[in-house]
Symmetry: C2
Subunit: 308 residues, 2 copies
């Protein structure tokens, strides 16, 4: 590539790196038959497990646990113990996050207070294994993809099962994705008076849980355009990737294969009765499957980030 | 103003024009104590009656009527007559649009088909009084406000009681507002298979009706920032303007006072039991009230647009 700067230095040379670069060159070249005008360069990214570590528990769940432990006015010890046990059982289910949130949101905090509380927590909390801030555990190769897309006129959207307001306080600094481009699960809200001014309060009732078909419906409702690139890592992302699949599109599934540097687990659903599973879809629809162990030179860029 | 180009040439010199210009200068001047960084320059605009003519019927309603008349396979004549009578009775209620849409959307069209159908209709349909395309009846002074805001780094959002997908096909050309910045009422959707590929189908069930408090909740859910400017014209916009109200913000209510050049009607709610009414709020919260007859030199720029 001569003196051209490598846009994806943390990726090993190989099929997937080549495919990402040739995709960008193809859709951004005005003389290409696959050229896509800038306003249609939409890319959607799942968050947990696609852009950032999601094991041993989602950051969202770690936050709720901490808040529940802090606020003993809010919950009795026995209630907490029951919630914890239950949360441990089905920890990776988006629904469980919202159920765990139920206890937390009974207090009736506003959306602005919730985001402020997350901002405070995320600036202090440390990941139990890597002993660093959660935001330092975004995948370096994926940060390079986000930046590469952005530099080529793409609008990057995050589409997550975690609540949008959990990701927004740190999406700009971590991913360079602005708050209005974060689509996520959410609770019902109501407009109420606090003193003389209006406040938007969260209610402990799910409004939308962004998983599977819901991701597509929210993309369509919010962006009203079909993405030309999508990245995911689990069964919850399959519909989003299917929605994006097209001969000219880029669909990528992150496969967690590296128990030494990160974690090793399957992108397939834990529930067999869902039938055809994530890796089968990837194969039959020709998605690119990233083997983290083989495809990524580094996973985290901790040396640079620990300074923060 | 010397040789500086007037950003609002269709506005008569006066309090409101001065207030808009001084607002922009105040929030965009880095040396001003009221400076607002570019990422927080959010402005929200109601659509019908604020940016474009809404009388004698909303464009959305005119569209539904046309479609119902066209598609006699879909509805029997008697059903249509009943719907029409009923629609005439409560024509300006957002809910009625969705109810009228109910009949239309029973067919199970996709969001993409709906937008294509609107795009086709809007390029042909003529307004009954002004005998020109609906999109030519956007208010020239408001188009100047949108452009002036945009040039000063603002993100302009439309927040409408009409369906978002009704406005999206023409929002870019008419207002320079991209489809992802159109927030509007919507129907429930579902992901379904059409042949081999996925399609998002509309269901005849309201998902969200954007009026009053809902406008605030949607702004908060989507943008997650409080606007610093808001424009509306009816009781349905009061909460959005209240949410924006702040000593440093710009809140504007359009008052339709010109039955010769446009229409004359009150921004107050037709329902007295709502208590405090639109003009009372405007007075007590110091919103700017545009008197269309006195404040706007021209309302439509038809000579230039008829060419299209």
């Amino acid at each position: 590539m001569g003196n051209i700067i490598d846009p994806l230095p943390s990726w090993h040379e190989g099929d997937i790196k080549r495919s990402i670069i040739s995709f960008i060159e193809r859709v951004c070249d005005q003389h290409s038959e696959h050229f896509v005008p800038i306003e249609n360069r939409i890319a959607t990214f799942d968050n947990d497990g696609t852009l950032i570590v999601e094991k041993p528990v989602l950051a969202q769940v770690a936050y709720f646990k901490r808040k529940l432990l802090d606020e003993d006015v809010l919950v009795t010890t026995s209630k907490l113990r029951r919630t914890m046990h239950w949360a441990k059982e089905i920890l990776f289910d988006s629904l469980s996050i919202l159920k765990l949130g139920f206890t937390f949101f009974r207090k009736g905090i506003t959306t602005e207070e919730y985001r402020a509380s997350v901002a405070k927590w995320i600036s202090h909390a440390k990941h139990p294994r890597f002993k660093t801030h959660y935001t330092n555990l975004a995948y370096q190769p994926m940060l390079e993809v986000l930046a590469y897309f952005e530099q080529n006129g793409f609008s990057n959207y995050i589409v997550s099962g975690s609540t949008a307001n959990f990701i927004r306080p740190w999406s700009q600094d971590t991913y360079q994705v602005s708050v209005n481009r974060v689509i996520g699960s959410s609770l019902k809200t109501r407009l109420s008076l606090r003193g003389d001014s209006l406040a938007v309060k969260l209610e402990p009732i799910p409004f939308s849980i962004e998983s599977r078909a819901r991701k597509v419906l929210s993309i369509e409702r919010r962006i009203a355009k079909r993405p030309i690139a999508a990245f995911g890592n689990s069964f919850g992302d399959v519909d989003m990737l299917r929605w994006t699949t097209d001969s000219n599109a880029l669909c990528v599934l992150i496969h967690h294969t590296d128990e030494v540097r990160e974690y090793k687990y399957s992108p397939n659903s834990r529930f067999r009765w869902f039938g055809k599973n994530t890796l089968c879809y990837a194969k039959s629809l020709n998605w690119h499957v990233v083997d983290m162990k083989k495809d990524w030179k580094i996973i985290f860029n901790l040396t640079a980030k620990r300074k923060c």
